[in-house]
């Protein structure tokens, strides 16, 4: 990977136009060669490498891991990658280890393709002696732009003086470049700025909205739902191509968040309309439930494997293989569903209803300010959770704790939506508390779900005579371990729920939205 220093120009180098400047320096330029190549930039779907200040670049058959902003080549290796997605397990060993020390991607794929054209000019002095070369670079990018706006091409010149001729070549460079031109390598001048732009304006699993306390709540909700439905649509291709389980996760979260907000912010839209949308979105999400359960199971399979003794390992492998096979079948169903024009049309139709913003669909609370509605909704919902927490006991059913978890999720979506108009310190405190509680409830729920999932799956496989006895044995061992962990986790969960319940609801809401403290 060529990481030499070059100098940025405002326009492409035109040898005819610069001839007078060259003549003044008693220098001549003559065209030697043209060369083109493309650089492919790989990252995870959510730019994890970029967020850690790394770029994974493929130039021909060479893959390079480069640290930014001070360009540092960390790793370079010749690879024989096929075009397309690369699973973490398929990365070459050395590169895989380097990446694993930074992030834990499941898959990386080409996020950006840069075409790099270079014209080489021979530079000669007045004796017609070759004194160096001038490389004219032209970087362009076709496609992959987040907002359909092209990433503007970048031009530059790279002087390559021969030994003993740096002074005249430096004079030439100064004659070509404007006074305040940038200089640096290709990563600094092209790749990093472009990736930064893609990252900044690209996909976000959590919509980031800007509005004021006076903004009518309907406007806030409309923008949020539109962004969430965009997000759901953006993930469909990734699910269909089975690029990474996170695509399905984000798709489901986007639909769930939309449904939750329509439930919590009642009568911002017409109740019948809200109900219909929630039902449709519920259908679009529920068709992926099995696949998501299998994804979660397989993502955690390494930790399950580690829990089992050596003698149950062969059985576990058979079990894992059977579940992986089941996942493939489930994936095919989901792919079929998501590729069905009717499904896509349904999602698009819902999205259009929100983007068109038809006033006849607005509810009677549509024009209330966001801050008033937010305070009321948070108070009401947080109160509901506190009551559920108060009812939680060592004897309560898992379903009760699961319900608290669902309501906590909804409350988190609500508080995230109104972050721009909340007191930031109180917001941080509440979301921090909710996150900690949700993590705990999530662990508890995962343990319950995985036990249930495992026993249902085993029964089904056994019923279909598709299960090896060794696998049954491993499943039994695993169920027993999960059950023990589940019991231990319940004690911790109950303590946390008690703490949540003990905090006065009104005080929390008053801290969060101080301006509405007097609103009943």
């Amino acid at each position: 990977m060529n990481l030499t220093r070059w100098y940025q120009l405002d326009t492409p180098l035109d040898p005819d136009a610069v001839q007078p400047r060259c003549q003044a320096l008693q220098i001549s330029l003559s065209h030697c060669a043209d060369n083109t190549c493309s650089i492919e930039l790989y990252d995870s779907f959510d730019w994890l490498l970029w967020q850690k200040n790394f770029l994974l670049l493929r130039l021909n058959d060479q893959v390079n891991l480069v640290q930014v902003p001070k360009t540092r080549l960390v790793y370079s290796e010749a690879v024989n990658w096929p075009k397309g997605d690369i699973g973490a397990a398929d990365l070459p060993a050395g590169l895989g280890a380097e990446i694993a020390s930074l992030i834990r991607p499941r898959v990386v794929f080409a996020r950006l393709r840069v075409d790099w054209a270079t014209s080489t000019f021979a530079v000669r002095d007045d004796e017609d002696k070759l004194i160096g070369h001038l490389l004219s670079h032209h970087f362009s990018c076709a496609g992959n732009q987040p907002d359909n706006s092209p990433l503007a091409p970048v031009y530059g010149v790279e002087p390559q003086p021969l030994k003993g001729y740096s002074t005249p070549i430096k004079r030439l460079r100064k004659a070509l470049q404007p006074a305040k031109g940038h200089s640096g390598d290709s990563v600094k001048l092209v790749l990093a700025p472009w990736v930064e732009r893609l990252f900044a304006s690209g996909y976000r699993s959590k919509p980031q909205l800007q509005f004021t306390a006076a903004t009518p709540v309907q406007q806030v909700l409309q923008r949020c739902i539109s962004a969430n439905l965009d997000c759901a649509q953006a993930n469909i291709d990734g699910i269909s191509r089975d690029r990474d389980p996170e695509f399905l996760h984000d798709y489901r979260v986007a639909l769930r968040r939309t449904r939750a907000l329509l439930s919590l912010l009642k009568e911002v839209y017409e109740p019948q309309f809200s109900l219909q949308v929630k039902r449709q979105l519920g259908e679009l999400a529920s068709r992926t439930n099995t696949l998501r359960d299998l994804d979660v199971w397989l993502l955690d399979s390494d930790s399950y494997r580690a829990m089992l003794p050596q003698e149950l390992q062969p059985g576990f492998e058979l079990l894992a293989r059977a579940l992986a096979k089941q996942r493939q079948a489930s994936l095919r169903q989901v792919q079929k569903f998501l590729r069905d024009p009717e499904t896509l049309q349904q999602l698009e139709s819902i999205r259009r209803q929100f983007t068109n913003n038809d006033p006849s669909l607005h509810g009677r609370r549509a024009e209330l300010s966001g801050t008033v509605v937010a305070a009321k909704a948070v108070r009401k919902h947080r109160g509901k959770i506190a009551r559920l927490c108060a009812q939680a006991s060592p004897d309560c059913a898992d379903e009760h704790i699961h319900e608290i978890r669902i309501e906590c999720k909804k409350l988190r979506y609500l508080t995230e939506l109104f972050q721009p108009i909340a007191n930031q310190d109180a917001w941080q405190a509440l979301t921090g508390q909710l996150k900690a509680l949700q993590d705990m409830l999530g662990r508890f729920n995962d343990l319950a779900v995985q036990q249930q999932f495992l026993s249902t799956t085993i029964s089904a496989l056994a019923g279909a005579k598709n299960l090896d006895p060794q696998a049954s044995l491993a499943a039994g061992g695993l169920l027993s371990l999960l059950h023990q962990q589940h019991l231990a986790e319940k004690h911790r969960v109950l303590t946390a729920l008690k703490d949540f319940h003990n905090q006065p609801n009104d005080a929390v809401v008053a801290d969060l939205f101080p301006a509405t403290a007097t609103v009943p």
Binding site: D125, E127, D128, K129, L130, L162, K163, G164, Y165
Partner: protein, 237 residues
């Protein structure tokens, strides 16, 4: 005699053979530098050449060819003898200078002015091989004999002397006879020879080694063959 033409063409052949080569133009007339279109150094005066190793490096110029650099001449090099005289160990100064360049190059080729002087004696001390172009004529044969005796009389190693026949025209009886005699009298004369050729003379007009414009000419082939012979001799050192 074809000294400079030989130095320039051997330098390029050696570089094309994969060696990192520095051609040092010690002749104040700067003919080697001229052939490579390298302007004479205005800053690298004889005094700096001998005393400032960093300045010496800064004045090295890349040629138009890969692996081949040139250290251009300066008119003040005509004063080398005067300067050497004022120095202690006056015959070993060049060896000291060249030592600093050894690590950067595989081969240092010195294009020397024609005479037996203090500068020449510095070259005799510094060089592993002293290439002597000899036109197969009586006068050149006599000059080689003088050089041989000078080596003997001054305790220089005569095995360093590496004569080769230059500007040879075997259509003349004299060239044939003298060539035969030289091979008989001096065992270390290279077997190959450089013919008298108009293509070699064109180097001045072309300002380039013969390989740049007549790579397939017999004269160019002769330089290449002679380099192969020379390379064996260098490897045997």
């Amino acid at each position: 005699m074809g000294k400079t033409a030989a130095a320039v063409n051997f330098a390029l052949t050696a570089a094309e053979d994969g060696n990192r080569v520095l051609l040092i133009d010690l002749d104040p007339q700067g003919a080697s530098s001229f052939y490579f279109r390298v302007k004479p150094s205005s800053k690298l005066k004889a005094k700096l050449f001998l005393s400032e190793q960093e300045k010496l490096r800064q004045n090295i110029r890349a040629s138009d060819y890969a692996n081949l650099d040139i250290l251009p001449a300066n008119l003040s090099y005509r004063n080398f003898d005067v300067m050497f005289k004022q120095m202690s160990r006056s015959k070993h100064q060049l060896r000291k200078v060249l030592k600093s360049l050894k690590s950067d190059y595989d081969l240092l080729l010195l294009d020397c002015p024609p005479s037996i002087s203090l500068l020449s004696e510095n070259v005799f001390n510094a060089a592993d091989l002293v290439l002597v172009p000899v036109i197969p004529t009586t006068l050149s044969e006599r000059t080689l004999g003088q050089l041989w005796r000078f080596f003997k009389d001054n305790d220089y190693d005569t095995r360093k002397i590496c004569p080769f026949l230059s500007m040879v025209n075997y259509r003349t009886r004299m060239h044939k006879d003298v060539s035969e005699r030289l091979h008989k009298d001096y065992k270390r004369v290279l077997q190959g020879y450089i013919p008298l050729s108009a293509e070699i003379e064109k180097m001045g007009a072309q300002r380039a080694p013969i390989f740049a414009y007549a790579r397939n000419h017999i004269a160019a082939k002769c330089y290449q063959m002679m380099w192969s012979e020379l390379r064996n001799r260098i490897e045997a050192l």
